[in-house]
C-alpha cells in the first residue's frame, strides 16, 4: 500500500470517529436540553427512578460487598510483605470510595441499565412505536430519553454512596472476622482517614457515569438498525460504549480531582 493511500485511510477513520463523537455529543446536548424544557412526564420519570435506582440496589450491593472483601484480603497480603498490614482500613476506604465504588457501580449500571434502555428504545424504534409517539404529538426525546437521563443522574450517585458503604462493610467484615482487626479501631481508622474530597469525587463520578450510561443507552436505541438484529447490535454497542466511556471518564476525573 502506498503511503498516501495509507494516510488517506487513516484520515478517513479519524474523520469517521470524529463524526460519531460529534453526533453523540450533539445528541447528548439535545437530550440534556429537553430535561429543562416542558412538557415534563413525571410518570415516566418515576418509573425510571424505580428501574434505574431502586431495582439496581441488589446488584450494586452484591458486587461491592465482594469487591470490598477481596480488597481487604489483597491489601492485607500485599501489606504483609513490608510489615504494613495495619493499613487495611485506610486503603480499603480510599480504594472503595475513590475508585472501586464508582467504577463497579458504573459498570454494573452499564450492564443493567444501559442495555435495558437501549433494547427497549430500539425495540420501540423497529416496531414503529417511536413514529407512533411522534404522531401522538409526543416528542420521543422528552418522553423517552429525558426522564431516563435525569433519573440516572440523580440515582447513580446515590447508588455509588450505597456501594461505597457496602464495600467498606465487606472489607470490615473480612478484616474483623478473618484477619483479626479490632472492630472499633477499624471503623475509627476508616472515618478518620477519609476526606470530604474523597466523598465528593465519588459522587461526582457517580453522576458522570450515570449520565454516560443513560445517554449511551438512549443514543444507540434511537439509532438502532432494523429488525431483531438491529436491536441486538444497538444493545451490544451501547454497553461497549458506556463501559469504555465510563472507564475513560474515571481516568480523567481521577486526574482532575487528585493530581491538580
Amino acid at each position: 500500500m502506498s503511503p498516501i493511500a495509507w494516510l488517506a485511510g487513516l484520515g478517513r477513520s479519524v474523520l469517521t470517529l470524529l463524526a460519531v463523537f460529534g453526533r453523540v455529543t450533539l445528541f447528548a446536548l439535545d437530550a440534556l436540553s429537553h430535561i429543562f424544557r416542558p412538557p415534563f412526564y413525571p410518570r415516566e420519570f418515576a418509573a425510571a427512578l424505580l428501574h434505574i435506582g431502586w431495582l439496581s440496589l441488589p446488584v450494586v450491593g452484591l458486587t461491592t460487598i465482594f469487591t470490598g472483601g477481596a480488597l481487604a484480603l489483597q491489601i492485607y497480603a500485599g501489606g504483609a510483605r513490608f510489615n504494613a498490614e495495619a493499613v487495611v482500613p485506610q486503603i480499603v476506604a480510599i480504594g472503595m470510595v475513590r475508585e472501586l465504588g464508582p467504577v463497579m457501580v458504573g459498570l454494573m449500571i452499564a450492564a443493567r441499565v444501559t442495555s435495558s434502555i437501549a433494547a427497549e428504545i430500539a425495540t420501540m424504534k423497529v416496531t414503529e412505536q417511536i413514529d407512533a409517539l411522534v404522531t401522538l404529538s409526543t416528542h420521543p426525546m422528552k418522553y423517552l430519553t429525558a426522564p431516563r437521563i435525569l433519573a440516572a443522574l440523580i440515582t447513580v450517585p446515590a447508588l455509588v454512596a450505597v456501594g461505597d458503604i457496602i464495600g467498606i462493610a465487606g472489607g470490615y467484615a473480612v478484616a474483623t472476622q478473618n484477619l483479626g482487626f479490632n472492630p472499633a479501631a477499624y471503623l475509627k481508622n476508616t472515618a478518620d482517614f477519609l476526606e470530604p474530597l474523597d466523598i465528593v469525587s465519588s459522587l461526582v463520578k457517580g453522576a458522570a457515569f450515570g449520565m454516560i450510561a443513560a445517554i449511551m443507552g438512549c443514543y444507540f436505541g434511537m439509532h438502532s438498525g432494523r429488525g431483531a438484529q438491529g436491536v441486538g447490535r444497538a444493545t451490544k454497542s451501547s454497553v461497549e460504549a458506556a463501559a469504555v466511556l465510563i472507564l475513560a471518564a474515571n481516568f480523567v476525573l481521577t486526574g482532575v480531582f487528585f493530581s491538580l
Binding site: 412526564y41 416496531t127 409517539l133 401522538l136 404529538s137
Partner: protein, 248 residues
C-alpha cells in the same frame, strides 16, 4: 386539503417514490392502492414528516409541511400504523387515551378512560380488553386498538394503513363503515391504504393507484371500473397476466 407535489424518496439505490403528485380535498376519503412494496406506507410517512422526502413539496391546508409549527401540525393528525405500533408497556386503554392523558389535550383520568372505552366499543372491542396489555391480544384486536387510538382525539386528518388486514369479513365491514362514518359525520379527511377491493368500494370517495413510484391513476371510485387503464384493471381484478409483473 393535502397536496403532494413531485415527491421523491429513495433508500440508498432503492428509488421508492419517483415524483408523486396527489391531492386530497378536505373532508373526503382517499384510498391508495398499489402492489406490495410500491411505497404506499412511505408516502403516508412523508406527509407526516416521519420520513423526509428527498425532494418535492407537501402542503397541508396550504401550509408547507416541512416548515412551521410541528406540534400544531401533528395535532391535526391521527395515524393507524400498518403494524399497529401499540406501546407494549401500556395497557390497551392507556394506549387509546395516550393523547388524552398528557400534553395539550390532557383530561382527567376517568374521563380519558371513558372515552377510550367508548372508542374501543366503536371498533368492536369489549370493555374488558381495556386493562389488558397489547401483547395479550390477537393480531386483529391489536389492529383495532391501533384504530381506536388513531381516532381517539378526533383528529381532522386520519391515515389508515391497512385497517382491515387480519380482520374477519364481518369485522372488516364494521371498520369500513366506521371509517366512512368518521368522514361523513365528523368531516374528517381520510387517507387509507388497503389491498381489499371491497374496502376500497366501501370507504373511498377517490382512489389513487401507486405504481413505479408515481401515481398511475387517480379518480373517483365510480370511475375505477371503466378507467381504461390496463394497470388499474389488472390490479382490481387481481389478474396474474398484464402489464404489472407478478414476480418482482
Amino acid at each position: 386539503m393535502i397536496r403532494m407535489e413531485n415527491v421523491h424518496k429513495a433508500f440508498g439505490d432503492n428509488h421508492v417514490l419517483r415524483g408523486v403528485n396527489l391531492e386530497i380535498p378536505t373532508g373526503t376519503s382517499m384510498v391508495i392502492i398499489g402492489g406490495s412494496g410500491t411505497g404506499k406506507s412511505v408516502a403516508l410517512k412523508c406527509i407526516l414528516g416521519l420520513i423526509n422526502p428527498d425532494s418535492g413539496k407537501i402542503y397541508v391546508d396550504g401550509q408547507d409541511a416541512a416548515t412551521g409549527d410541528r406540534d400544531a401540525f401533528l395535532a391535526k393528525f391521527g395515524m393507524l400504523f400498518q403494524g399497529g405500533a401499540l406501546f407494549d408497556s401500556l395497557t390497551v386503554w392507556q394506549n387509546v387515551a395516550f393523547r388524552l392523558l398528557r400534553g395539550s389535550l390532557k383530561r382527567p383520568v376517568d374521563e380519558a378512560r371513558a372515552i377510550a372505552i367508548e372508542k374501543l366499543r366503536r371498533v368492536g372491542l369489549k370493555p374488558d380488553v381495556a386493562d389488558r396489555y397489547p401483547a395479550e391480544l390477537s393480531g386483529g384486536m391489536q389492529k383495532r386498538v391501533g384504530l381506536a387510538r388513531a381516532i381517539a382525539a378526533e383528529p381532522e386528518i386520519i391515515f389508515f394503513d391497512e385497517p382491515t388486514t387480519g380482520l374477519d369479513p364481518i369485522m372488516a365491514g364494521v371498520i369500513n363503515e366506521l371509517i366512512r362514518e368518521i368522514v361523513t359525520e365528523m368531516g374528517a379527511t381520510a387517507m387509507t391504504i388497503t389491498h381489499d377491493m371491497s374496502s376500497v368500494r366501501a370507504i373511498a370517495d377517490n382512489v389513487a393507484m401507486l405504481h413505479g413510484g408515481k401515481i398511475r391513476w387517480t379518480g373517483p371510485v365510480s370511475r375505477m371500473d371503466d378507467s381504461g387503464d390496463p394497470y388499474l384493471d389488472q390490479f382490481i381484478h387481481g389478474r396474474a397476466e398484464g402489464p404489472i409483473e407478478s414476480v418482482r
